[in-house]
């Protein structure tokens, strides 16, 4: 590496911005070269990635276990659905995304203040209750929140300027589902840059100190409660944004989309990828999104019936999780990183 490149690389912010730019190029290449169906799946991966990124910061860096992030995604999704109830009076999409993030953040702060007093299994229990209770709210307020049917989301038309820019860069026209995939991935990249900077900053060091040794952290002058609440708030804000992208991708916010399974899937994505690693969160989200499809496809090719092939997916996902936990307890990215470090130390 030249000296200039090295200097850029050693600056945390410059490094993250460069990685983000590279990520954006990769996203454009992938979304332009895949079908509309795959675009839709990439949108799913984007919102799972955003939520998993937020969760890995909370669980990996700050040591708080949340079983309720699906509930925070629901809050973001319902906020989006309420704002985008019809085409005519819809606010700009950026405003919608920010509003969903902000509303979830405020509710997350409330929960976080309560949760900061809890530890280990107790905070897991409290957030578990949240995961079960929040979808019930939609059933209770049937009039405004649509009950079991949920609320449909009117995804705004692709703005002219966005279509122009997209055409200028890619030479392709932009469909609505591709537009949503772009929104999802741009949200993910912005979120990850912010999270990466945060975790490399004083705040991130504070979080890790609180996780590893709360007495030492407190004696060093860290307010434990404030550090825990801040990590919780940041994490729930991510979940809110993820929920907003989900609402756009699915065009629906309904209680059945935010069951406990979603919260647990997020946690398993984080563990599979590697606790505390943003790249790991992305790998976990990719596994969650694509593994079932791939496995079902293989099953069908092998001559299984539709039902059998569909049942194969959870089995393989479960086995993958078990294998990772047993053979690579640091997660996929974590283990790869350790192996790479060892190799570099030897040479």
């Amino acid at each position: 590496m030249t000296e200039f490149a090295q200097r850029i690389w050693s600056s945390t912010l410059a490094r993250h911005v460069l990685l983000a730019a590279a990520g954006l190029v990769a996203v454009i290449l992938v979304l332009e070269s895949t079908s509309a169906f795959r675009n839709g799946q990439f949108a799913v991966m984007a919102y799972m990635g955003i939520a998993a990124g937020g969760l890995t910061v909370l669980t990996g860096l700050n040591g708080q276990l949340s079983l309720g992030h699906g509930a925070f995604m629901a809050i973001g999704a319902y906020t989006t659905a309420l704002l985008l109830s019809d085409w005519d009076s819809a606010p700009p999409l950026l405003v919608v995304l920010l509003a969903a993030t902000l509303v979830t953040l405020v509710i997350g702060a409330g929960v976080g203040v309560a949760a900061a007093r809890l530890h280990g299994p107790y905070i897991a229990g409290a957030t578990l209750a949240l995961a079960i209770a929040v979808p019930g709210i939609a059933l209770y307020f049937q009039g405004t929140l649509g009950g079991e049917q949920g609320l449909t989301v009117a995804v705004p038309a692709v703005p002219d300027w966005f279509a122009d820019v997209a055409y200028f860069i890619t030479g392709n026209d932009i469909s609505s589902s591709k537009y949503v995939a772009y929104i999802g991935w741009i949200s993910l990249i912005v979120t990850f840059v912010l999270l990466a900077n945060l975790s490399r900053s004083r705040v991130g060091r504070t979080w890790r100190a609180v996780r590893d040794d709360d007495v030492a952290a407190e004696l060093a002058g860290i307010n434990l409660g404030r550090a825990r609440v801040l990590a919780f708030v940041v994490s729930t804000a991510c979940a809110g944004l993820a929920g907003a992208v989900l609402a756009l991708a699915v065009r629906l916010a309904a209680p059945s989309g935010f069951t406990l399974v979603l919260s647990l899937a997020l946690l398993s994505a984080v563990v599979l990828g590697g606790l505390g690693s943003l790249l790991g969160a992305l790998v976990g989200a990719a596994l969650l999104t694509f593994l079932p499809q791939v496995v079902t496809g293989i099953g069908l090719d092998a001559g299984l019936s539709d039902l059998q092939a569909a049942e194969l997916a959870p089995l393989v996902y479960g086995l993958t999780t078990m294998l990772v936990v047993i053979l690579a307890p640091a997660g996929i990215v974590g283990t790869a990183r350790i192996a790479w470090r060892k190799r570099r130390a030897h040479t």
């Binding site: 004083r202 060091r205 590893d212 004696l219």
Partner: protein, 234 residues
């Protein structure tokens, strides 16, 4: 500098400290000695707020510490290095040190960091390595360095010699002595290793079952045969 008045604390029904009073004068080292369970660690924990007194209080330059939140103590100039080191092993040496400067308005200035590295050259060699590669002695140096970066007026040290080779203990004690002389630091040193603690301390306090037995010049305590045999084990 640090006034302990009638300090009493308990873990549930078990009294750990019972009406302890003494003063740790400015710019001196006060050694707190006693057998296991005498209340030495509880004394430090109660001063820094990890344990709240049920009666009495500690005063730092006449400020009552009994209601100050733990994380404010560092800002007031009281640094506590707990037993068992408290190194954050996943952070690098430098990041661990920076935690020490959190409570300061000016953060840790580069010059202050360099001073710590001059005091502990071994840490300088490993500043960008994660702290889990450090040996026991280096970890002790790291937590002392971290405490010093908070620019304390009073440093509470809990068993810095625990598990360390005698040569390393001597190094750390020499360094403490020189810090007191150069910075006018006030140190309260809890030690099992009474002989080496008294060799650098100006004053000594002996605790037994939570009560203060004696408070005197370190030299007087070291020369008192009866006391040494009864409480200090040498």
């Amino acid at each position: 500098m640090l006034d302990i008045r009638d300090l009493t604390a308990a873990y549930g029904p078990v009294t750990a400290l019972d009406g302890v009073s003494f003063t740790a004068p400015e710019g001196k080292i006060t050694a707190v000695l006693g057998a296991n369970g005498a209340g030495k660690t509880s004394l430090l924990r109660t001063i820094s707020g990890l344990l709240r007194p049920t009666r009495g209080s500690a005063y730092l330059a006449d400020k009552d510490l009994s209601r100050v939140p733990v994380e404010r103590m560092a800002r007031l100039g009281l640094s506590h290095v707990p037993e068992g080191r408290g190194v954050i092993t996943e952070l690098t040496v430098e990041e661990n040190l920076r935690l020490g400067g959190l409570g300061r308005a000016d953060r840790a200035k580069p010059a202050d960091m360099e001073r710590i590295y001059t005091l502990f050259p071994k840490l300088a060699d490993r500043r960008h390595k994660t702290a889990h590669v450090l040996s026991g002695g280096e970890r002790q140096m790291l937590v002392i360095g971290r405490a010093l970066l908070a620019t304390p007026k009073v440093l509470l040290l809990d068993e810095p010699s625990l598990g360390l080779a005698p040569r390393i203990v001597a190094q750390i004690f020499d360094l403490l002595k020189s810090l007191v002389e150069s910075d006018g630091l006030t140190i309260v040193l809890v030690e099992q290793n009474a002989r080496s603690a008294l060799s650098i301390a100006d004053y000594g306090v002996v605790l037994n079952l939570g009560k203060l037995v004696v408070h005197d010049d370190a030299a007087v305590l070291a020369a008192d045969d009866k006391l040494r045999h009864a409480y200090l084990g040498f």
